[in-house]
């Protein structure tokens, strides 16, 4: 049954036509609208008005349902923010582990409720701080972690069995998670009590973020080794944060973000099935990560569409029966690329609008990007303001009082439908590329033939064109202020951190039992050549103080290197 009474809807449609040919037509004759077409940030055309006829087939039970119940359009939990607000999780990481540890303690003291680690480029791409390619980037955009001992410094004095931790790393995720598990062993914390997330989304690295360290198939295997190992040994750990944020940062549309991200998710589910895991077993530990752009309603609809489509895919296609395996639980981050350099304080307004969309979209945790990020990594003040944004939205605006308040809006329901359809269409294109062997094969093909990257670059170019020709006005870009605010006080980068980190790594290498580390790396190479799960071997290398770069080099020995195809 449709959501609206059929006869009432027909009457409304007739009234609408009468309004269009009467009042509206007369007004348009007198004063035309300011633009011929009104577009969202993603280039989707928006109608003048949405009415019951905009989504006439919407079925309340089948398409919306109740929070905490299939298809979860309205929210993943029955009480949502009335039970507990979203987790305020500002990502942080810079310099050495010791420096970041101080920032963590500052954030926890200022209302942060979970931790998230940003790693520097050498760590993200699997190189030691000593590697020639690492020069100038050690500890620059994130924290430098070379060995398990650095991980112990990072979480020194922080109760890792109580505060949930997110490790934002992908191809070397298996290594950094092993470092964390080794630290837990040292600190006497049982693995079962650890709560947190490792991003571990190998596939998106080829079109978003692009901090790849291995070729697609090797990287994918490492992701699945983590899923399998944690399903059995670290049961409360979220094994993949299937990420659309970076795809959006790379310039995709909202529909592409959902389509490509869910296709990645499907590839992981198919991998789990191939390893004999049931979707009910590992599905509940898959989580998601989306960006939030400026187009308020499109973003809310996008998050709702992702939630519904994932539930449908898990249930209908992969046969999940445990409702927890159907949940698209997600972290949201306001998009760094929407922050404008000129007039940095304006970014506080952007951040609060986006954060509001994340809350209305039903996010489980949130990071509000720092207002100064178009200049440098966020200052302490910027992070404080990001937390304050979350506190004000959560406590003062009333948006947390009721669940999915935009549900039932003619406009939002129509957009939700459109984005779900668009995402499905992308998934179908990708699946077709796999020659009938599922989405996993299709994803490898779509990565290797450059399809995903080209689609995203085309969208990025279109968006830029709309800014160039003034169709989309952005304050500080093509909509200029007379006197923009001066640049903010920036984070001060400590150039000596690189030297300190290199010295730290040299000391660990000097002091460790070299034969134990070498033996662990040899055993890892052997395991990687076969089809054993590599994670127990990486754990042993972590305990032996082998460095991240050494472990990743062992994997590169087996899987090879990946070169950027330079598609544009």
């Amino acid at each position: 049954m449709g959501i609206y009474d059929k006869q009432a809807a027909e009457r409304a449609r007739e009234d609408e036509r009468a309004w269009e040919s009467g009042e509206l037509r007369r007004t348009l004759e007198r004063a035309p609208e300011s633009q011929d077409r009104f577009l969202t940030v993603s280039g989707r055309e928006i109608q003048r008005l949405y009415t019951p006829s905009s989504a006439p087939a919407l079925d309340y039970a089948a398409d919306l349902g109740f929070p905490g119940a299939y298809p979860f359009t309205r929210g993943v939990y029955p009480t949502m923010y009335r039970a507990r607000q979203w987790t305020r999780r500002q990502i942080a990481g810079f310099g050495t582990a010791v420096a970041t540890n101080e920032r963590y303690k500052y954030l926890l003291a200022h209302g942060q409720t979970g931790l998230s680690t940003d790693f520097d480029h050498p760590t993200l791409t699997g190189y030691d701080s000593l590697h020639p390619l690492a020069e100038g980037e050690v500890g620059r955009l994130g924290v430098a972690i070379d060995t398990a001992r650095d991980m112990s410094d990072l979480f020194d004095g922080i109760p890792i069995d109580k505060v949930s931790i997110s490790l934002t790393i992908n191809h070397p995720a298996i290594v950094l998670l092993s470092f964390l598990l080794a630290h837990a062993e040292q600190a006497g914390v049982a693995w079962e009590t650890l709560r947190g997330t490792v991003q571990n989304d190998a596939l998106k690295e080829f079109h978003g973020q692009k901090t790849f360290a291995l070729p697609p198939r090797g990287a994918y295997r490492m992701t699945m080794d983590v899923v399998e190992f944690c399903t059995r040994n670290v049961p409360n750990w979220n094994t993949i944060s299937i990420s659309g944020y970076h795809t959006r940062e790379a310039g995709s549309t909202a529909g592409q973000e959902v389509g490509f991200t869910l296709a990645q998710g499907m590839a992981y589910v198919e991998g789990g099935l191939r390893r004999g895991l049931s979707p009910d077993e590992f599905g509940p530990r898959l989580s998601f990560f989306f960006g939030v752009h400026m187009d308020f309603f499109e973003e809310v609809a996008k998050l709702r569409a992702a939630r519904r489509l994932w539930a449908r895919i898990m249930k209908e296609r992969y046969g999940a029966t445990d409702p927890r395996a159907m949940l698209c639980r997600f972290h949201a981050q306001t998009l760094g690329s929407t922050l404008i350099r000129e007039g940095p304080l304006n970014n506080l307004i952007r951040g609060s609008t986006q954060a509001m969309a994340a809350a209305l979209g039903g996010a489980q945790s949130l990071h509000v990007s720092g207002y100064d990020e178009a200049h440098d990594i966020p200052s302490e003040d910027a992070m404080r303001m990001s937390l304050n944004t979350q506190r004000i939205i959560g406590n003062e605006t009333g948006v947390a009082n009721t669940i999915d308040p935009l549900g039932g809006s003619f406009f939002v329901e129509r957009l939700t439908n459109e984005i779900e359809e668009e995402a499905r269409a992308y998934i179908n294109v990708i699946e077709d590329m796999g020659g009938g062997e599922g989405v996993l094969s299709g994803m490898f093909a779509a990565i290797e033939n450059g399809y995903i990257e080209r689609e995203i670059s085309d969208a990025a170019f279109d968006y830029q064109q709309r800014i160039e020709d003034g169709a989309y006005q952005v304050l500080g870009l093509n909509d200029r202020e007379e006197e923009p605010a001066p640049p903010p006080e920036l984070y001060e980068h400590d150039d000596d951190e690189e030297e300190r980190q290199v010295a730290r790594l040299e000391k660990v290498v000097r002091e460790r039992d070299a034969s134990r580390a070498d033996a662990a790396l040899d055993a890892l190479r052997h395991a990687a050549r076969g089809d054993e799960n590599t994670m127990p071997f990486i754990m042993e290398a972590a305990r032996a103080d082998a460095s991240e770069g050494e472990i990743m080099a062992a994997l590169r020995d087996v899987f090879g290197d990946h070169e950027d195809p330079a598609v544009f």
Binding site: H121, P122, L124, T125, Y127, L133, A134, E135, G136, E137, R140, L141, Q209, K210, T211, F212, E249, A250, G251, S337, I340, R341, E342, A374, H375, D376, I377, S457, A460, F461, Q464, I467, E468, G476, L477, N478, P487, L490, H493, E563, D564, P565, A566, V567, F568
Partner: protein, 139 residues
């Protein structure tokens, strides 16, 4: 009158930085503007960029960096350009997350133009066209 040869542009990302949205948008825009664009991709070394620029007899070397490592990496690029005796032959441009405070020191080592995030494609195109035609007139 002969048709002038299109300007040859070498674009690349140095270091480990993966933020390639901007450089790809610029590659596409300059190509559409009729320039001859070679995009070398990510994780390229300064020496590789200089070699390629020499081989291709490039008019412009454009580097994109959002990693914060622009000071050491641009210094290396300038050194590589000098070693190949190409100083002054190609315009050296830098785009990305570059604090205003670093502009002066970049200009001192020979970086001809800095285009921070948010720069317009039109401005970049116009800068290249003007500087190249000024160079032509000087002979």
């Amino acid at each position: 009158m002969t048709t002038p040869k299109p300007a040859k542009i070498i674009l690349a990302k140095l270091g480990l930085d993966g933020h390639d949205r901007g450089v790809k948008v610029i590659a596409k825009a300059l190509e559409k503007a009729g320039m001859d664009v070679v995009y070398m991709g990510m994780r390229v070394t300064p020496e590789q960029v200089a070699d390629r620029a020499q081989e291709e007899n490039a008019d412009v070397i454009g580097v994109s960096l959002l990693s914060g490592a622009h000071k050491p990496l641009m210094a290396k690029l300038m050194k590589a350009v000098e070693e190949r005796e190409m100083r002054g032959e190609a315009l050296i441009l830098l785009g990305g997350t570059v604090p205003d405070a670093d502009r002066e020191s970049l200009a001192e080592i020979g970086v001809d133009g800095v285009f921070p995030v948010g720069s317009s494609l039109r401005d970049i195109e116009a800068f290249i066209t003007e500087r190249l035609s000024a160079r032509e007139e000087r002979g």
